[in-house]
Assembly symmetry: C2
Amino acid sequence: MNAAPTLDDVRRAHLRIAPYIHRTPVLTSEMLNRETGARLFFKCENFQKAGAFKSRGACNAVFSLSDVEARNGVATHSSGNHAAALARAARLRGIAAHIVMPNNSPKPKQQAVAGYGGQIVLCEPTLAARERTCQMLIDATGATLIHPYNDNRIIAGQGTAALELLTDVSGPLDALVVCLGGGGLLAGCATAAKAIQPSIRVFGIEPERGNDWVLSRKAGHPVTIPPPDTIADGLRTPRPGNVTFPIVQHLVEDVITVTEDEIAETTLFLLERMKILAEPSGAVAAAAVLFRKLPPGIRSAGVVISGGNVDWDTLASLSPAFTR
Amino acid sequence: MNAAPTLDDVRRAHLRIAPYIHRTPVLTSEMLNRETGARLFFKCENFQKAGAFKSRGACNAVFSLSDVEARNGVATHSSGNHAAALARAARLRGIAAHIVMPNNSPKPKQQAVAGYGGQIVLCEPTLAARERTCQMLIDATGATLIHPYNDNRIIAGQGTAALELLTDVSGPLDALVVCLGGGGLLAGCATAAKAIQPSIRVFGIEPERGNDWVLSRKAGHPVTIPPPDTIADGLRTPRPGNVTFPIVQHLVEDVITVTEDEIAETTLFLLERMKILAEPSGAVAAAAVLFRKLPPGIRSAGVVISGGNVDWDTLASLSPAFTR
């Protein structure tokens, strides 16, 4: 296995993907700062191309391939956002994208993949079925696997979100707060942030109902939980990645959980007060801040809003106002 | 009456208000560019302090006052966003704000005014009642009237939105598209934009159900229509301002209307596709672009999203998905 990515890898990724991604804005809210007693900087990856940070890693991976590697296209399995981002990146490079998706992934995410020209194969919503189906596709097509998180090119690409955030915020931050599914975003962001500012405290946030990282950190190695039943559909991965786990162990101070209610309330709060649409997974890091789950004494924090791909039914289900 | 504001006035306003407002981001959407065949730049004043561009003009007016003028506070009548912005600006300066609001203005807008310490007096939802009640308040308190649009300080303040937009977009734009209620935002933005880039074509957009500007331009002078019944509650002003009308006549190429359905669909589109929450009034300028109401040949446009203060009930009423 290659060594873990470095800040240099993240910087190179940023140069490589700059033509294909948004430099997303960093938003602040006077009211939220007052309510939480901290200066908060929200990195809005819900405004990213294809609606999530996943475009960063996918573009870095696809545009890292040699022409020979790229020839037979790329393949992956993903609950949705990585799938759409990879299909988009493949189209930008003019190659095929074979996408294995769990059959319970939201319709808009499937439509997005199809809209970018990705070739979808549905499978049962288990990690084993996803990996098996993907391997069959690769054997049949010769496509290159672009794993959603267990891939240094992906990790370096996702880290560009933190690189931009720390560049665009003036002055050091006490903390960086990032959601945690497979761990690609957190591993990449922690790599960039700790190298740029070693004093920064990095926290990973996951749904209480998908607490595989908390359990794995206790065990000291990745453990598998049953398929998590959480509204944060982007974070339903049942096991930390083998590549991301040691990076997170090394760089991340703590992994903290939030409840389903906290995720739902935060999604609505971001919409009503900050006027931005985050998907439930995208609100998970913010939920930890709003519900004061971080250790005391943090006076400033960067918070990644990871994505905004949510359908009306999901949104409606979050609010009593919608279900009368 | 003073001469119309100039680009210099807008620049001075920008320096004056910079500590009190957000430099709001300019968002773009690859997909929208593809669908409309134009490069579109959305100036997101829904992320502005107090949720709308009105904070620009209100801060400029309040911080323009001499200490003697400021002593007895400020007063205004407003359907909501100017009211909240003025209350906020007054609190920042440490003076009183007396606010006359129509009794049909949305609850969150009334709550926002109260939250900023504004003193609310409700009145009938007619322009005559608003003006009469406001004059009574001024007579009683000695407060200075800060009119929501018929005021050069307000117009210059609102123009800072266009100043930022044209600074942050690289290269010239074919057009600038702005919604039209009393005309303060359009007059200010047109003043700044035409002085910075004389070739730019400026368009004002109003609801078909509140077409006082279209009728007034035909008549050659401001005419009054019955209180407009439109979901764009920020644009229910029934008559162009006396101060804003000649500026708009001079600088704006055309005033174009959009239907209620077009406004509703655009509000939902901005939410679903661009992940931003605009109030219906805030979506009016974008509606003209999405529904191809502009003249042909426009290849690039700045579009102001004017505000984001919308309650759940209004949002729910826009979408069949919410009303099952």
